[in-house]
């Protein structure tokens, strides 16, 4: 999600819970904001949310794992999301992916040992007009080539 990886130093879990407790159906909002605190949803965080909302932990876990943008394991400071949809595919996304893998030494689903970058696939980013495309946190990049993607990564 949008602000998933920019830590919000001022907010903490109980504030988030207080804000949403009264409005029904806000589990997704709570999970999103909770994830923003340190980039992922730990077991303890999920437990606490379940307790506070008075719903089974299995349900909270079920929701958190249904959506691909919720993380239950730690992620890097920057999440590179490379689009794997057809329009990007037919304009050479595989080559871009290969360059990223080579540059960072990680495969999709992995994080660099220094914790700086995670690499992930995403569905269409709506940037098909400038395919192949990717996002790094909230920033969008298009018309990618091997050279350009190397330059971009080095600029972080």
């Amino acid at each position: 999600m949008a602000k998933a990886n920019c830590p919000l130093p001022t907010s903490n879990l109980s504030e988030i819970l207080d804000k949403y407790k009264q409005s029904p159906g806000s589990l997704l909002e709570i999970l999103r904001e909770a994830q923003a605190i340190n980039g992922y949803l730990s077991r303890e965080v999920l437990q606490l949310i379940a307790e506070e909302l008075g719903i089974p932990e299995s349900k909270v876990y079920g929701v958190a794992t249904f959506y691909s943008l919720f993380k239950t394991t730690p992620t890097g400071q920057y999440i590179i999301r490379i689009c794997e949809s057809a329009p990007c595919h037919i304009r050479g996304a595989q080559d871009v992916l290969a360059t990223i893998e080579k540059t960072l030494g990680i495969k999709p689903g992995e994080t660099t040992p220094d914790g700086k970058f995670s690499l992930e696939f995403t569905s269409c980013l709506g940037l098909c007009g400038v395919a192949p495309a990717m996002m790094i946190n909230d920033q969008v990049f298009g018309n990618l080539t091997g050279d350009r993607v190397r330059e971009i990564i080095n600029s972080f």
Binding site: M1, A2, K3, P24, G25, S26, L27, L28, E29, L31, R32, G62, V63, F66, Y67, S68, L69, F70, S85, A86, P87, H89, I90, R91, A98, T122, S123, C124, L125, G126, L127, C128, G129, V130, A131, A133, M135, D138, V140, F141, G142, N143
Partner: protein
């Protein structure tokens, strides 16, 4: 208000953002100040102008000159040459792909000239963050008119008369849906805007949300009045952070202007909006899954009926429409059903926005009357296929649709004709493919997508698509058998008949349609173990051109199977028996000496 002698519209849509329009905009503002022109020339950051591949793009008025691929280094020249001396910067003008002829004027470029913009009327023209600009374009006029002079029944009648159908995929008549929701018993009702836009290759909703968010807010408020709802939700996918931000901003400003919230325009009608952000699940675009997601649950669809119009959000009657559907509505109210009805074809009224992606010269968004042919869209607006390649197919309807081929080029595109041609409208994504794309690979790719996005609730979709994917993968690896085609068709038919929601029911479509149109290509993979488009790596033979090879040995050092041998400074050779077709040598060779057959 200041009267400016020139306006510079710089596209701030996502496509141009990705190619660096922010730096151009900043440079423009500082350079204008440096030239002391800030009171004469107005710079506007607009939504998507449409030509994403040419970004960053800008239009300079009053002349209407279109500049493409503008870099910050070009800004001083544009100011000094164009804005001060009145001479266009010719090297930044648009060039017609086929002839290379330069076309300076925005409205003479086919891509723009052939469009009729209703849903996209303001996108690329106004600053989405300035509500006054929307109002100046007749924004909120329709809402005012409806609240002060129409009964809810009259609003619905206008929509029914207009013939507007849903732009989110199914093409259901919008007026009828509003009527069902209005007539459903219950005192609490909701209006929802489906802004999940999951179809790979479609980005029109994004463009409306980012470039003209007030049009959606206005239309949803009109809907609230017509169906009797006081609360609305906009469900936006998380992949669109800019859209979320623009919507939040627009909602806030609409509140400040008294066009949203309590007692709108002083008429006593109240309506409010909340944004709900998705979390990365394609199936949530399906309306019942979307409802579950707004309720904070796993986004799994449920069988219909009951339809959301009678039992929707928290069991209450709920109207769900797509972004583009909503964006049409204020104009229909302002200009009348009769005006709208004369655009388009007999059963498909109005315009449709198509997202051109893939192998086409002008990628981006075009809005054309329903019934425009595929040929016009791809070859006239889209400028044809790049690099003088041949058109092979266009996928419409995304992973739920099918492909159109050469024989369909002169088909008018509307809901019915597309279905008759074996595809569907879907949300209007148009992925163009040329001779270098392998249709078996494309079919496999789409299926992989739906398989991946299957929520797993029903067996036909969860297991059936997996079986199909295995077979397709086998074929692309050269292990296919002829009976596999029949098996694919059989599986496809039964999944279509038994899956729970539209995702599963339509998942086999790309496979069926490619088998129908490109049977020979499948057979080449199966019988001859050959990929005619040279895409499926396992079916290619790698060899080294003795003319181009300089004997550097890089390939041999990178071959994991030691299949390459030779002596330094002499051409190397590949042992076909050992080669596993990993493609390492191809990636590594500095002289392009590795050839594929």
């Amino acid at each position: 208000m200041n009267l400016y002698r020139a306006h510079v519209l710089i596209c701030g849509g996502a496509g141009c953002l990705s190619s660096g329009c922010k730096a151009v905009l900043d440079k423009f503002n500082t350079e204008l100040k440096a030239h002391n022109l800030q009171d004469e020339i107005n710079v506007v950051e607009t939504g998507c102008i449409g030509t994403c591949d040419l970004g960053p793009v800008m239009v300079v008025y009053p002349e209407g000159i279109f500049y493409q691929k503008v870099a910050p280094e070009d800004v001083t020249e544009i100011i000094e040459e164009h804005l001060i001396k009145g001479r266009y910067v010719t090297r930044l003008l648009y060039e017609r792909p086929a002839s290379g002829e330069q076309i300076p004027f925005y409205n003479e470029i086919n891509f723009f000239r052939k469009q009729q913009r209703i849903a996209l009327r303001n996108v690329g023209l106004i600053n989405p963050e300035v509500i006054e600009e929307y109002i100046a374009q007749d924004g909120y006029l329709a809402l005012g008119k409806v609240l002060s002079t129409y009964t809810p029944e009259q609003v619905i009648q206008v929509l029914k008369d207009s013939g507007l159908r849903g732009r989110g995929g199914a093409g259901f008549p919008t007026g009828l849906k509003w009527e069902f929701t209005k007539n459903a018993p219950g005192d609490q009702k909701y209006v929802i805007c489906n802004a999940d836009e999951g179809d790979p290759g479609a980005f029109m909703d994004r463009s409306v949300l980012e470039g003209d968010p007030h049009s959606v807010i206005e239309a949803m408020t009109i809907a609230g009045y017509a169906v009797g709802a006081n609360q609305g939700y906009i469900y936006v996918r998380a992949e669109y952070p800019l859209a979320v931000q623009r919507l939040e901003d627009a909602i806030k400003k609409a509140h400040e202007f008294g066009m949203l919230g309590e007692n709108i325009f002083g008429t006593g009608f109240s309506f409010d909006l909340e944004i709900r952000v998705g979390a990365g699940a394609f199936v949530c675009g399906e309306e019942t899954a979307l409802l579950a997601s707004i309720e904070g649950k796993r986004g799994e669809p449920r069988p219909k009926p009951p339809f959301p119009a009678s039992q929707g959000l928290w069991g209450k009657p709920t109207l769900i429409n797509n972004v583009e559907t909503f964006a049409n509505i204020p104009v229909i109210i302002n200009r009348g059903a009769d005006w709208f009805k004369q655009i388009g074809t007999e059963k498909s009224k109005g315009t449709k926005v198509f997202a051109l992606a893939g192998k086409v010269n002008n990628t981006g968004l075009v809005e054309v009357p329903m019934g425009t042919t595929l040929r016009e869209v791809i070859f006239e607006l889209g400028g044809g296929i790049p690099n003088h390649k041949r058109f092979k197919a266009a996928q419409t309807g995304g992973p739920s649709g099918g492909c159109l081929t050469e024989k369909d080029l002169d088909q008018p595109m509307d809901y019915e004709s597309l279905v008759a041609a074996g595809s569907m409208m879907g949300s209007g994504g148009l992925i163009v493919m040329d001779e270098d794309n392998c249709m078996v690979d494309v079919a496999r790719f789409f299926l992989e997508f739906t398989q991946d996005e299957s929520c797993g609730k029903c067996t036909p979709c969860r297991v059936g698509t997996k079986r199909m994917l295995e077979i397709l993968t086998k074929i692309t690896q050269g292990k296919g058998e002829e009976k596999d085609l029949e098996l694919l068709e059989e599986l496809a038919t039964s999944i279509k008949a038994t899956a729970l929601c539209g995702l599963g029911q339509s998942a086999p479509n790309p496979v069926l349609s490619t088998i129908r149109n490109f049977r020979d290509e499948y057979l080449a993979h199966i019988r001859e173990k050959r990929c005619p488009a040279k895409v499926c790596r396992a079916l290619l033979q790698y060899s080294i051109s003795s003319e181009l090879c300089k004997g550097c040995g890089l390939c041999a050092r990178n071959c994991p199977e030691n299949a390459i041998s030779g002596e330094p400074k002499k051409p190397y050779t590949i042992d076909q028996e050992k080669c596993i077709k990993c493609g390492n040598c191809l990636d590594k060779c500095p002289f392009n000496a590795i050839t594929l057959k």
